[in-house]
C-alpha cells in the first residue's frame, strides 16, 4: 500500500498556566512511501516522529494536511478502518491473556460477515505465529517471555489482521544490544516475506541505516532529508543530518574558504572549486582522514585505539568543535604515531561544507 503524506501538520495546545502558543509537533510534512517499502522515521526525541506515526495510524487527528493510503484519502477515518497494524514501544501485550489469545484478539473484534470461524481464527493465528517463529510459545503468558519474544508476539498481533501498513514505534528500544541486532534483522525478514509497507520510528541511526530502504530524518517537526541510507550518509543536506548519521560521529571544524581553498585554522587543507569566499562549517567523516607525513592538517595526537579491524586515532585540533576528533583508518595502514603531532590529508568525498548560518550544505567540486 502506497502512503502519501500531504502538508501534514499537527499542533498541540500549549500546556500549563502560562499557556504559551501551540506546540507544533509536525510541521507541513510531505512525502511518499511506496508500496512494500520499509521506511525509518529518524530523529532526536521530540522531533515529531512518533506523532507522525500516530497520525498515520489514526490515534491522532492532524491539524492540517491529508493522508492517503493508495488513492484513498483516509485522513478522517478512525484507526480500525484504516487497515494498519501497530506495534507499541512497550508492546502493549495484554498480560492476562496467553500469546494465542493476544494474537487472536484483533480477529475476535470483528463482527458480522467479516467474522471468521474459530478454526479460521486459530489457523490464521498459527500461520502468523509461524511467520515470526513463536509457534511453540502459544500457550504462555507475555510475562513468561523474554523481551525479544514479546516483540515477536506484538508483531504477530499487528500482522494477524493482514493490514496494508505496519507501524512500529521504537521497536528495538526495550531490547538489549545483542537482541537488538538480531531483532532488527528479524523485522527486515518479516517485512520482506510479507511485502508489507512498513514505517518505523527510531532515534537510533544505526538501526535506521541498517534495515530500512529509505530513511526520513526529522527535526522539530520538519523533514530534513529523505533518501536511501547510503545516499543520506554520503550526501547530507545539512549539518544536522551529517551530525545525526554515522558512528563514530562526524568531526566538525570551523573553517573558511578563501580563493578556492579551504582553510582550517591557518592550514590550507583542500582545494575547493566554485565556492565563494566565506566562513564555513567543515564536516569530515572519521574515515575521511589519511595519515600522511606531509598531510595538510596537523593535529595533536592524544591516543590510538586499536580495534583489530581498524585503528582509531584520537587527536585534537583547536578549530574542531568537539573536544577531540576521531579518525578511523584500516589496520593495514601504518600511521606514524611516535610523534606528538599527527598529520592528515583529507579525502575530498568525505568532506562536507556547510553554510555558517543556515547550516545548509555547500556543494563543491574537488580538484
Amino acid at each position: 500500500m502506497k502512503i502519501v503524506l500531504q502538508n501534514l501538520t499537527k499542533k498541540f495546545p500549549g500546556r500549563g498556566k502560562k499557556a504559551q502558543s501551540d506546540v507544533i509537533a509536525v510541521n507541513d510534512l510531505s512525502f511518499e512511501i511506496s508500496d512494500g517499502e520499509l521506511i525509518a522515521l529518524l530523529g532526536p526525541s521530540g522531533c515529531g516522529k512518533s506523532t507522525t506515526l500516530n497520525l498515520i495510524c489514526g490515534l491522532e487527528k492532524p491539524t492540517g494536511g491529508r493522508i492517503f493510503f493508495g488513492e484513498k484519502d483516509i485522513t478522517d477515518l478512525s484507526p480500525e478502518l484504516r487497515g494498519v497494524g501497530m506495534v507499541f514501544q512497550n508492546y502493549a501485550l495484554y498480560p492476562h491473556l496467553t500469546v494465542r489469545e493476544n494474537i487472536v484478539f484483533p480477529l475476535e473484534n470483528r463482527k458480522g460477515k467479516d467474522r471468521l470461524s474459530k478454526e479460521e481464527m486459530n489457523a490464521r493465528a498459527l500461520e502468523t505465529a509461524r511467520l515470526v517463529q513463536i509457534e511453540e510459545l502459544m500457550d504462555r503468558k507475555p510475562g513468561e517471555l523474554s523481551g525479544g519474544q514479546q516483540q515477536r508476539v506484538a508483531i504477530a498481533r499487528a500482522l494477524v489482521k493482514m493490514p496494508g501498513v505496519l507501524l512500529l514505534d521504537e521497536p528495538l528500544s526495550n531490547l538489549d544490544a545483542r537482541l537488538r541486532l538480531k531483532t532488527r534483522e528479524e523485522i527486515r525478514r518479516i517485512q520482506k516475506q510479507t511485502g508489507i509497507t512498513t514505517v518505523f520510528v527510531t532515534h537510533d541511526q544505526d538501526e535506521a541505516m541498517s534495515i530500512s530502504d529509505r530513511i526520513a530524518v526529522m527535526r522539530e517537526g520538519v523533514l530534513m532529508q529523505l533518501g536511501r541510507p547510503q545516499e543520506v550518509y554520503d550526501n547530507p543536506a545539512s549539518l544536522f543530518v551529517a551530525r545525526f548519521l554515522g558512528t563514530p560521529p562526524i568531526n566538525v571544524f570551523e573553517g573558511e574558504v578563501r580563493n578556492q581553498m579551504l582553510y582550517i585554522g591557518d592550514e590550507a587543507v583542500l582545494a575547493v572549486k566554485d565556492v565563494p569566499d566565506q566562513p564555513v562549517w567543515v564536516g569530515v567523516r572519521p574515515e575521511g582522514f589519511l595519515p600522511q607525513k606531509d598531510g595538510a592538517l596537523s593535529c595533536e595526537l592524544n591516543r590510538v585505539e586499536i580495534l583489530g579491524r581498524d585503528i582509531s586515532i584520537i587527536s585534537s585540533h583547536p578549530a574542531c568543535t568537539g573536544q577531540t576528533l576521531r579518525s578511523i583508518i584500516s589496520a593495514e595502514m601504518r600511521a606514524d604515531t611516535s610523534d606528538s603531532v599527527v598529520r592528515f590529508a583529507l579525502k575530498p568525498g568525505k568532506v562536507f561544507l556547510f553554510h555558517k548560518e543556515t547550516e545548509e550544505r555547500i556543494p563543491f567540486a574537488a580538484v
Binding site: 490515534l59 484507526p79 480500525e80 501497530m86 502493549a92 495484554y94 484483533p106 473484534n109
Partner: protein, 296 residues
C-alpha cells in the same frame, strides 16, 4: 543460631511483642473465655470447661436474628456497593470536565461522621405521627402509601440499613477503583483502538482483568467489614437493637458484654468465636475463587 539470625529476631522483636500483646493474646483469651462455663465476672470463677456457651448462643433467638440480619446485610451490600463503585469510577475516569469536583463529592461521605450520616438518614426516612420524612413525601407524591422505615416493618428497616451501609462504604471503593483505573497503561487502550475493539469488549476483556486484583481486594475487605457491622445499625435504630430486631453479630457481642442484659463475657466470647469462624471460612472461599478468577 548465626549472628545474622539473632540480629533479624532482634529487629523483629518490637513488632512481634506488639502483635503478641495486642493480637495473639486477646484472641487466645477470647477462645478460653468461650469454653469456660458459668463464668462469673465479679468473682472471676467458673464451674467447668465445655461447649455450653456455644450451645446457649446458637439457641438464643436474638443471636439467630443477628446472624440472619448480618448475612442479609453482607449478601446485599458487598456486591451492590462494589458494582456501583465500579460503575461510578468508570464514569469518573471517562469524563474530563469537573472530574475533580465529582471525585470530591463522592468522597465526602468517607470523611463524614457515620453517626451524623445516620441522623440524616433517620430524618430522611423517619415517619412520626406529626410528619413524614422526605422519602415518604416522595412516595406519597408518586401515589404510594407512607412506610415507617425506622420503626416499621422488617423489610423497610433492612432496606434503610443496606442503603446506609452502601452509602458509607462506597467512597473508599470509588477512591481505590479510580486510582486502579488510572494506573492501567493507556497503550493497552490505544492497541485496542487500532484493532477496532468495541467499547464493551475493551471493558470486559482489558479493563476488568487489569483491575481485578483491586476489585478482589475490595470484595474481601467488604465482606469482612460487613460481617463486623454494628455502628451502622446503632446510628439508625439506636442502642436497643434486639428490640428493634435489627441486631448484628457484633451488636450481639456488645450487648452480651455491656448491654442492659449484659455481663456475660462467656456468651459474648462464644459469639465472637463463631463470627471469627464465619469470616475465616468466607475469606478462604474468596481466596480459592480468586485463584481461578483473578488473572495476572
Amino acid at each position: 543460631m548465626s549472628t545474622n539470625n539473632k540480629k533479624a529476631w532482634l529487629y523483629l522483636l518490637p513488632a512481634l511483642l506488639f502483635l503478641i500483646f495486642f493480637m495473639v493474646y486477646p484472641l487466645i483469651d477470647v477462645i478460653i473465655y468461650s469454653v469456660e462455663e458459668g463464668y462469673n465476672f465479679a468473682s472471676q470463677t467458673y464451674f467447668g470447661v465445655g461447649t455450653y456457651n456455644f450451645s446457649y448462643v446458637l439457641h438464643d433467638p436474638y443471636f439467630l436474628q443477628a446472624v440472619k440480619n448480618t448475612f442479609i446485610l453482607v449478601i446485599i451490600t458487598v456486591p451492590v456497593s462494589t458494582g456501583l463503585a465500579l460503575l461510578i469510577s468508570v464514569g469518573l475516569s471517562s469524563i474530563r470536565p469537573l472530574r475533580e469536583l465529582y471525585q470530591t463529592i463522592y468522597f465526602l461521605p468517607y470523611v463524614t461522621n457515620t453517626l451524623a450520616v445516620g441522623l440524616v438518614f433517620m430524618i430522611l426516612f423517619q415517619r412520626t405521627e406529626y410528619t413524614d420524612g422526605m422519602v415518604n413525601l416522595l412516595i406519597n407524591w408518586f401515589g404510594g402509601e407512607s412506610v415507617d422505615f425506622i420503626d416499621g416493618p422488617y423489610w423497610a428497616k433492612m432496606f434503610v440499613l443496606c442503603f446506609y451501609t452502601i452509602w458509607v462504604v462506597m467512597p473508599f471503593k470509588i477512591l481505590v477503583l479510580t486510582s486502579a483505573l488510572a494506573s492501567v497503561n493507556p497503550d493497552y487502550y490505544k492497541a485496542a483502538r487500532v484493532d477496532g475493539t468495541p467499547r464493551l469488549r475493551v471493558f470486559t476483556k482489558i479493563t476488568l482483568p487489569m483491575i481485578s486484583p483491586m476489585i478482589f481486594y475490595l470484595v474481601i475487605t467488604g465482606f469482612i467489614g460487613a460481617f463486623k457491622a454494628y455502628s451502622d445499625a446503632v446510628a439508625l435504630f439506636g442502642t436497643d437493637l434486639n428490640a428493634a430486631g435489627m441486631n448484628t453479630i457484633v451488636g450481639y457481642v456488645y450487648d452480651m458484654l455491656y448491654g442492659d442484659s449484659g455481663g456475660y463475657p462467656s456468651y459474648a466470647s462464644a459469639a465472637a468465636v463463631i463470627l471469627f469462624v464465619i469470616v475465616l471460612t468466607i475469606t478462604c472461599v474468596n481466596l480459592l475463587v480468586s485463584k481461578k478468577r483473578v488473572r495476572y
